[in-house]
């Protein structure tokens, strides 16, 4: 087999029923993040924030109140449809979509190891995107249509006259997602991401950006990170606050990105010094929940 992702070992193809073949380092064939989905009852307010961060609305969902924003390689979906769930004004990160080799096989692999399936509700002629439950109320989708024929070609209609592939501001790309977790929960969530997806924990002294707290997990494709953050010691009653808290955007030049985004109207938390300013920055947004962090990082 000369396939670049020969490590994918799922289902009958793995031959596990004939001989003991261990899993490769990337059992699901994860290739990166296809999109991040926010849910909010105020999609325009979030849309405005995204536009100041350099995103452009490029397409609408065919049957639901869902908009696709994009810059460079990064897709953000703003969902105001809810699917029966109660939407809050404060935007929440409702889902991460993982780009994988084979979505059905990845879904099966995760369920076999104890993931919770999300029941699907698709309209006619829409894609059935398999999903499992993630932290809090969030979901993790598996997407294997990307590149020339993507999920957006099926479920979305391009907004006329809009450039479908707007360039990224100063090389912005997805760096990672920050997840808030309960007390003593780092090991649980590390196990969740490593056993189900093949993430690996980085050494405690490795950090990026300006908010280094917690434990950093690297994706099996080495293209993005998850950062797990427990409450400050001694805080009580935060157990139920587990959620995907913010996304980190990587850029090769943080000060240049900060300057460009300031032009668009983004306010940043003041940096302590120049070294600090080169490592990262934290954007202040006018609406709670949608927080963005810039991190010095070259796209993988």
């Amino acid at each position: 087999m000369n396939h670049p992702h020969a490590a994918v070992s799922v289902g009958a193809r793995s031959g596990a029923d004939r001989e003991a073949i261990g899993e490769g380092p990337n059992p699901l064939g994860v290739l990166g993040i296809e999109f991040i989905e926010y849910a909010t009852s105020k999609p325009q307010a979030l849309g405005n924030v995204l536009e100041t961060m350099g995103f452009k609305p490029v397409a609408r969902h065919r049957s639901r109140e869902i908009l696709l924003y994009r810059q460079g390689e990064l897709n953000i979906i703003v969902n105001a449809h809810g699917d029966g769930a109660v939407l809050t004004e404060r935007p929440v990160i409702a889902a991460i979509a993982l780009r994988v080799q084979d979505a059905a096989a990845a879904y099966r692999h995760a369920l076999d190891r104890g993931a919770w399936a999300v029941p699907v509700h698709v309209e006619v002629m829409e894609l059935n995107i398999p999903a499992i439950h993630g932290v809090g109320t969030s979901r993790i989708y598996f997407v294997d249509r990307h590149g020339d024929f993507s999920i957006y070609d099926v479920d979305f209609t391009p907004i006329p006259t809009v450039n479908q592939h707007p360039a990224a501001v100063v090389g912005l790309h997805l760096f990672g997602v920050v997840q808030y977790i309960g007390n003593d929960r780092s090991d649980d969530w590390t196990e969740f991401y490593s056993a189900l997806f093949g993430f690996t924990a980085l050494a405690p002294d490795v950090s990026f950006g300006i908010l280094p707290k917690g434990r950093i997990l690297q994706s099996p494709c080495h293209t993005f990170y998850l950062q797990l953050i427990e409450p400050e010691p001694g805080l009580l009653d935060v157990e139920d606050d587990e959620c995907l808290q913010r996304i980190g955007l990587g850029t090769p030049d943080v000060p240049a990105a900060v300057a460009a985004l300031r032009q668009l109207g983004v306010e940043f938390v003041a940096a302590k010094d120049a070294a600090h300013a080169a490592r990262g920055a934290l954007a202040r947004t006018t609406i709670g929940g949608a927080m963005f962090e810039l991190v010095h990082h070259l796209p993988g």
Partner: protein, 299 residues
């Protein structure tokens, strides 16, 4: 607690020891001075107003839920039996989560349909623990003394260690240890942080000769610690666990047909007597331990 009461905060009753509806059981425990309760899935699903109403009753009682029991015959199945048990497990985890309970008890399989192959048992327990992670629930795996493959706690410990999941640990039941006469020295190998629950019970016989007798004693004739003939062994066990560093909960797992025919407060007061004996005389916890404030949800 006041200075005139004993410290029984580490000890709790199990609803199986009492007759009657859930609400009466909870009030009897509360009235006896207990602060925690071990619940059965049946307590919730058998509630006349539905399981969510039962969850509300538990929350209204102010009692902390020690643990939720019991997932039976889970590991080692395959095909449709495995899928069926996964559904049962998920349903129980959802109820456990609704109770804000952080420990669910699973006991070793007795099923003749279950495989004894170790890798399969390990894989299934890993899967169960994985299902519990998003809900912040720990799985306490207990060796039932009549379990088919796993029937003594050292075996349960081995498999917990091999499965190596942060939220999979040991559920320890004194009855099963005494019934199989597992040596106390075996406790030495346990990691106290991986003991998620200790259940205590005494019984009236010195010897249990057959497996059948073991099952019937376990299900109908256990008594509270200090009431049977194994009091000294129970005291040594609790002291040993304390020395190992175990600081978690002790629940009285007392199935007793006679207690089901007695007024609830009478039974609850017998349980309290047992808790006072263990708390005051055995562990000498006359005052709350320093730094014993519990973070919400810590098992």
């Amino acid at each position: 607690m006041s200075q005139f009461q004993g410290n029984i905060d580490n000890f709790g009753m199990d609803t199986i020891s009492l007759a009657g509806p859930l609400k009466s059981k909870l009030s009897a425990m509360r009235a006896a001075g207990f602060t925690q309760v071990m619940l059965l899935a049946r307590d919730l699903v058998g509630h006349p107003d539905g399981w969510r109403a039962a969850v509300q009753e538990v929350k209204d009682s102010g009692l902390r839920v020690t643990g939720f029991q019991v997932l039976r015959d889970f590991e080692g199945l395959s095909g449709h039996l495995h899928d069926y048990k996964i559904d049962i497990a998920k349903s129980m985890l959802e109820m456990c989560h609704a109770l804000d309970c952080r420990v669910m008890l699973a006991c070793s399989s007795t099923s003749t349909h279950a495989s004894s192959e170790r890798p399969k048992l390990v894989r299934d327990l890993r899967k169960l623990a994985m299902l519990a992670i998003p809900m912040n629930i720990k799985i306490a795996f207990e060796a039932l003394s009549w379990g088919r493959t796993i029937n003594e706690f050292p075996q349960a410990w081995d498999i917990v260690t091999e499965a190596d999941m942060p939220n999979l640990g040991l559920g320890f039941d004194s009855f099963h240890m005494f019934a199989t006469k597992t040596p106390m020295d075996e406790l030495e190998m346990l990691d106290p942080d991986k003991i998620f629950l200790v259940q205590l019970a005494d019984f009236m016989w010195q010897e249990i000769k057959t497996v059948e007798e073991r099952i019937s004693t376990a299900r109908t004739f256990r008594v509270f610690p200090g009431e049977g003939v194994h009091s000294d062994a129970l005291a040594s066990l609790v002291r040993k666990l304390h020395e190992l560093g175990y600081r978690g909960d002790y629940s009285f797992e007392v199935f007793n047909d006679d207690y089901q025919q007695m007024p609830l407060d009478t039974v609850a007061n017998r349980a309290k007597k047992a808790a006072l004996w263990l708390g005051e005389d055995v562990l000498r916890r006359s005052v709350p331990l320093p730094n014993a404030m519990r973070l919400k949800g810590r098992a």
